[in-house]
């Protein structure tokens, strides 16, 4: 695999991060707009809207993984720890919410909210770990 310096890896990541976030935001807003304005929707439209909104997320995750592979070893460790902790928190939260729903303690929970939950936990963990290791 080609070797990149930290700066190169970071630039390659950021070159794709912002376009992916832009497409994701546009897809979310576009989907919400279509849902409100269209009175009758063809059967295929919800599927296209759902997949169209999810594709940039997969794109973002791919470029995040590529960054993890290309960045320097210390940054890689920080990234992997943050991703692991965020994954554990999200899985734990999903389990708790699932059982709360099963025992009818809470109404139906929109599953897609687990995605921002994961990225929120990832961001917080990365900030806390980065501060502890680098200041």
């Amino acid at each position: 695999m080609k070797q990149f310096t930290f700066k190169q890896a970071k630039r390659r990541y950021q070159n794709w991060f912002w376009p992916m976030m832009g497409i994701y935001t546009a897809a979310c807003l576009g989907g919400a707009y279509l849902q409100r304005t269209l009175e009758t929707t063809p059967d295929w439209l919800p599927l296209v809207m759902a997949v169209g909104t999810t594709l940039p997320i997969f794109g973002f995750l791919f470029f995040l993984w590529r960054y993890v592979q290309e960045t320097d070893e210390f940054s890689r460790l920080m990234q992997l720890e943050s991703l692991a902790i965020a994954g554990l928190v999200t899985v734990g939260a999903a389990g708790l919410i699932g059982f709360l729903q099963l025992y009818e303690a809470i109404p139906t929970f929109p599953v897609f909210l687990l995605l921002p939950c994961f990225f929120f936990a990832y961001g917080i963990t990365k900030a806390v770990r980065g501060k502890g290791a680098c200041v």
Partner: protein, 71 residues
């Protein structure tokens, strides 16, 4: 593991960012190594040693217990 990275860097009048740039790593990596919060891999330790034209042992010193255990 203890190291003399901060001293060597100061002798060269390099900032952490300067050293990070020369090694192709992040400034945070240099900070973490200097403060003993992160031990570099062998390839990075060799790169640091080569940059300062010293042996790895002259820059990185294992803790006493580790040496005794190896003996």
């Amino acid at each position: 593991m203890e190291n003399r990275l901060r001293v060597l860097r100061a002798e060269m009048k390099w900032s952490q960012a300067d050293l990070a740039e020369k090694l192709g790593v992040s400034r945070q990596s240099i900070n973490a190594i200097e403060t003993g919060k992160y031990d570099p891999s062998l390839p990075l330790a060799f790169a640091i040693a080569r940059l300062f034209e010293q042996s790895i042992e002259a820059i990185f010193m294992p803790e006493e217990g580790v040496v005794e255990a190896a003996e």
